[in-house]
């Protein structure tokens, strides 16, 4: 092909400027984002799945958790109130905090959405696991906040375990156990009853058995720490078993899978 000198001269006069790397990177980022959005079934990272699922967590969960944190902060500001009212508040509120977790975990069953969710790409087990991660993350943050507030008033760690962590994990473990065994037959009322029982009877029990406080403190602390640790294990055991279930069909008839060798 013969060169056209006029065209060549025109090209020489109008050389394209260098591409600004910042602009180029930004453009690539935007286009990748666009392509990902247009893709029908994109691969999602775990963090993306968490973020997506977070946007569908009920609003009242965030509200209740924010109220808990604010309340703990407000009570901890009053040094005179905290030893008595703070402990009572912890005793009463942590089972309620746990009730929020289990209610949100069980909402698929309570409104009969579980069957539709189980047939989706991220099936029920995965959805429950995502919810567990979100809610446990939030509760960890809240309990850490409550612990800091409690410690700032001179409270001991064993006391926090006794008044906050033990009732929290105990309530959650019992509720998740029932949810695992009963599915949609485990209603909100059942879980609320567990929460109330732990919230009321645990402090009453401790009040009625004053000699526990006469046990040498280091031994008593060990008992509390061990009980809290066991409740924590029980909670995680039930939560993970719930998320790893093969089937969420709860039938009174006894299932037989023993001889499926396919």
């Amino acid at each position: 092909m013969k060169k056209d000198p006029a065209l060549e001269a025109l090209f020489q006069q109008n050389i394209a400027p260098d591409i600004n790397p910042k602009v180029r990177d930004e453009q690539i980022r935007k286009l990748s984002h666009e392509v990902r959005n247009m893709e029908y079934l994109p691969r999602q990272s775990f963090a993306e799945q968490i973020l997506t699922q977070m946007s569908f967590i009920s609003g009242w969960v965030w509200l209740a958790q924010a109220c808990f944190l604010l309340f703990m902060f407000a009570v901890s500001q009053n040094q005179r109130w905290f030893p008595t009212y703070g402990q009572i508040a912890l005793f009463c509120l942590t089972p309620a905090l746990s009730l929020i977790l289990t209610c949100e975990m069980s909402k698929s069953f309570s409104v009969d959405m579980w069957e539709m969710e189980a047939a989706c790409r991220y099936n029920l087990a995965q959805i429950l696991f995502l919810r567990l991660c979100i809610l446990c993350g939030c509760d960890l943050f809240l309990l850490t906040g409550a612990l800091m507030a409690y410690r700032s008033t001179g409270g001991a760690l064993w006391q926090f375990c006794l008044y906050a962590l033990l009732p929290f994990f105990l309530t959650a473990a019992l509720s998740l156990y029932l949810l695992r065994r009963m599915g949609n037959r485990c209603s909100f009322m059942t879980m609320a009853a567990i929460s109330l029982t732990v919230g009321i009877f645990l402090p009453l029990f401790l009040q009625c058995v004053p000699y526990v406080y006469r046990i040498p403190s280091h031994r008593f602390c060990s008992i509390i720490f061990t009980a809290t640790f066991l409740a924590l294990l029980l909670f995680f055991y039930n939560a993970l078993r719930l998320c790893a279930q093969q089937s969420y069909v709860y039938d009174n008839r006894k299932d037989q899978n023993a001889w499926n060798l396919e």
Binding site: N37, V111, C120, Y122, R253, E262
Partner: protein
């Protein structure tokens, strides 16, 4: 595209909810007909990988659905029999939620949700809470969620139960329009639902398929077993006890009965051509009476 079911069994103790089913489903609408407790819902749950079979396999294009996992669920749409909604969700938010757990991208989900809301006639109420919807609207929203991922296998468990006739017709038409190039399995005990839209009918009884084929072929199996006769009104109660009676129509002092029976029930009875409802009564009336 095929769904191959081989020796599928679901056993609870000594009770077989699904008993050694073998069938190959290809493109088309299959109507699953059976009385309550025949094992329809269990079969549907097994097909959707919600329950584990006691033995046997379900293969989608040669892949076992148990191991195919989310790849299978990507091509699956399911509308369960008894389902609910998060009450505070609006119709659009519900579809976006279902899109999210079906793994659809955000952009696509919004576009698809709006499209489907329009198709099922709920676009006007997309921002209304589901708890304010009627039963028919909820069912239509249910099928919209099943269609979000443009499934290749669509499983509908008793989708028309509890709907009034107008809504049922509307719903049937929706299913027909959605069924192109798909394997659609529709379970019901309402005979007219499958009569109009199903290309093939599977009749299920005590966990087994007792008949499968085109509606006219199946109906032919009870040729010569449906009779019509006119009897005095006073004789109707005793005949009802002795025979399997389909429809009855009063005409003055006499009643015209439609009797489903192997033999001619009485002298003046004339053989009439059977329909799907007669077939249902032929196979399931005895069972219903026992209940």
């Amino acid at each position: 595209m095929e769904l191959r079911i081989e020796h599928l069994t679901k056993q609870y103790g000594s009770f077989f909810a699904v008993n050694d089913i073998n069938i190959v489903l290809t493109r088309g609408v299959y109507g699953l007909l059976g009385a309550n407790g025949a094992g329809k819902t269990t079969l549907m749950r097994l097909l959707c990988d919600i329950q584990t079979p006691t033995c046997g396999t379900i293969r989608y294009d040669g892949q076992d659905i148990r191991t195919y996992g989310d790849h299978y669920r990507n091509v699956l749409g399911y509308l369960p029999q008894d389902f609910g909604y998060y009450p505070n969700f609006t119709a659009l938010k519900f579809l976006l939620y279902m899109s999210a757990i079906k793994g659809l991208s955000k952009g696509f989900a919004m576009q698809r949700s709006l499209e489907l809301l329009e198709e099922v006639g709920l676009l006007q109420v997309k921002d209304k809470k589901i708890k304010t919807f009627s039963g028919g609207m909820k069912q239509r929203l249910g099928i919209a969620q099943a269609m979000l991922n443009d499934p290749k296998v669509l499983v509908l468990d008793e989708p028309t139960a509890g709907l009034d006739p107008k809504e049922r017709v509307r719903f049937r038409n929706l299913i027909s329009s959605f069924s192109q190039n798909k394997i659609v399995l529709l379970s019901t005990h309402i005979v007219s639902d499958v009569e109009y839209i199903a290309g093939d009918i599977l009749v299920m009884k005590q966990g087994k398929f007792i008949h499968e084929g085109r509606p006219d072929e199946i109906i032919r199996s009870i040729d010569g077993k449906v009779w019509e006769c006119s009897v005095p009104n006073a004789d109707v109660p005793s005949l009802e006890r002795s025979y399997n009676i389909g429809n009855m129509r009063m005409e003055g002092a006499s009643t015209v009965l439609r009797v489903i029976n192997e033999e001619k029930p009485m002298e003046n009875a004339v053989s009439v051509s059977p329909n799907l409802e007669d077939l249902y009564l032929y196979y399931f009336n005895e069972e219903e009476n026992m209940k």
